[in-house]
Amino acid sequence: MNERLRVNPIDCVAHGMCAELIPERVTLDDWGYPIIESTPLGEELVDHARRAVAACPVFALRLERALQGTRSRE
């Protein structure tokens, strides 16, 4: 199953744990907030992603099922 990482930017307060735990998919911007590569996770990264989700102190990071043609609206 294809999953991808997503952050709730309202909840995120830039602890930066995610970038430590899954640097393959998360880097930090100039202010310490995560920049997430949201393409579907390969099998080799799913465990790291789960660990990062569990480690987020404010539960801002989540795993979402990657849908084809995900709708985005303003």
């Binding site: 309202i10 100039d30 907030y33």
Partner: protein, 407 residues
């Protein structure tokens, strides 16, 4: 069982008619209105109709016009949507600065009592002023008595909106279009606020085949030479006038070029203004108008605004000019709403179109026009009042007029 079938037929009839007419949202996102109606109808729960007249964009003033001079088309549209979706509630959400307009539309709605079924109520509700208030999920929050701030999506308002009901939130002009389609008087025209260095600034109604040259002519032509033209307001794009003059202004043609009139805004920046000072002032204002929830928006807009203000004050002494474009790229698609994306678009296109002026300011600091420049409006908000109100229990300040129905 008695109401189910007619409602379903009405929905099909209305969405078919909207699709044939090619009606799309006039708030800026440009989503096909028929698709949105169907999406609301597909949810469980009784839908709520929200007319979004929280016009926070300083360059737009079409809501004021529609609520007073075309109140009947707006109400026709809201009624048609309510009948098609089987809604019992129409909420007209109006910016607190538009008291007169709120009064007018309330009277117009009251005059129509008895024209529709008794279970359908129309409510006029005042919401706090703010650029972000008109964002769909922020508007839902405001209507629910919370601070007017966007929420993380999904769920979208069409899925779970006001009090958990599927909610159709659309721009005032969109309802006016729905109303005209329902009455068979829709002609594909749209309202555009034309401002800045033109002989006759104001609200114009343009046909779907109108070009920018035609619009300019309708506005009496340019009043002075111009630096550039802004399409779509403070979340829009800057262009050179010569590049857009031949363009047709229908959204389809515009979007092929990554352009849009947004909520219907064209602004010509005259040579008497300093583009760098104007952009710095607008971006500072947009940074203040941020809901202040998401890190990339708070810090990104803050950093970009500070760098722009620095250019108009002392030049590029802290070497932040070169960062503006990178920061603009960095913040995109990283907020809960599209506020940072809009500012990024505004800034990067300004850097392109006004490149010479920006370079000059980076080297030499402020120009003689910087201090005089205030072509683009940045209204002051009574901020603390809004904040205290968000926290206070709903009382006298949160005006809400119930205009009929069974209650």
């Amino acid at each position: 069982m008695v109401t189910e079938r007619p409602t379903r037929n009405r929905l099909g009839q209305l969405t078919d008619a909207l699709e044939r007419a090619g009606v799309y949202g006039r708030g800026g996102a440009g989503f096909p209105t028929a698709t949105k109606l169907r999406a609301v109808a597909a949810q469980r729960g009784r839908p709520i109709i929200v007319v979004n007249a929280a016009e926070g964009e300083p360059l737009s003033h079409k809501d004021r016009y529609l609520l007073t001079d075309r109140a009947d088309t707006v109400l026709d549209g809201a009624d048609a949507a309510a009948e098609a979706l089987g809604a019992n509630e129409i909420i007209i959400a109006i910016d607190q600065a538009m008291r007169v307009e709120a009064d007018t539309i309330a009277k117009a709605a009251q005059a129509r009592r008895g024209q529709h079924r008794r279970s359908l109520r129309t409510i006029v509700q005042i919401v706090p002023s703010g650029y972000i208030t008109g964002q769909e999920s922020a508007l839902i929050s405001a209507l629910a008595g919370r601070a007017a701030k966007p929420t993380f999506t999904p769920p979208y308002p069409f899925e779970r909106g006001l009090r958990g009901h599927p909610t159709l939130v659309s721009n005032t002009e969109t309802y006016s279009q729905i109303g005209r389609v329902a009455r068979g008087t829709y002609d594909g025209s749209r309202l555009v606020a034309v401002g800045g260095a033109v002989a006759e600034p104001g609200l114009m109604e343009i046909g779907s085949d109108t070009t920018m040259a035609g619009l300019l002519q309708g506005a009496g032509g340019l009043a002075e030479p111009v630096h550039g033209v802004l399409l779509g307001g403070y979340a829009g794009t800057w262009s050179r006038v010569a590049d857009v003059t031949p363009l047709r202004l229908d959204e389809h043609s515009l979007r092929e070029r990554q352009l849009t009139l947004g909520a219907g805004i064209v602004f010509f920046l005259g040579d008497s203004a300093c583009p760098v000072a104007e952009v710095a002032r607008v971006v500072s204002w947009m940074a203040e108008e941020s809901a202040g929830q998401c890190g990339p928006c708070i810090h990104g807009l803050g950093a970009i605004a500070a760098a722009l203000v620095e250019l108009t004050a002392r030049g590029d002494q802290f070497a932040t000019y070169g960062q503006i474009r990178r920061w603009s790229g960095l913040i995109q698609k990283r907020g809960a709403c599209a506020h940072p994306d809009g500012v990024a678009r505004f800034v990067t296109t300004a850097l392109d179109v006004f490149a010479a002026a920006f370079d000059d300011h980076a080297r030499h600091g402020s120009c003689e026009r910087c201090a005089l420049s205030s072509a683009l409006p940045t209204p002051r908000r009574r901020r603390d009042r809004n904040h205290s109100r968000a926290a206070a229990p709903r009382g006298r300040q949160s005006a809400r007029w119930d205009l009929g129905g069974s209650r």
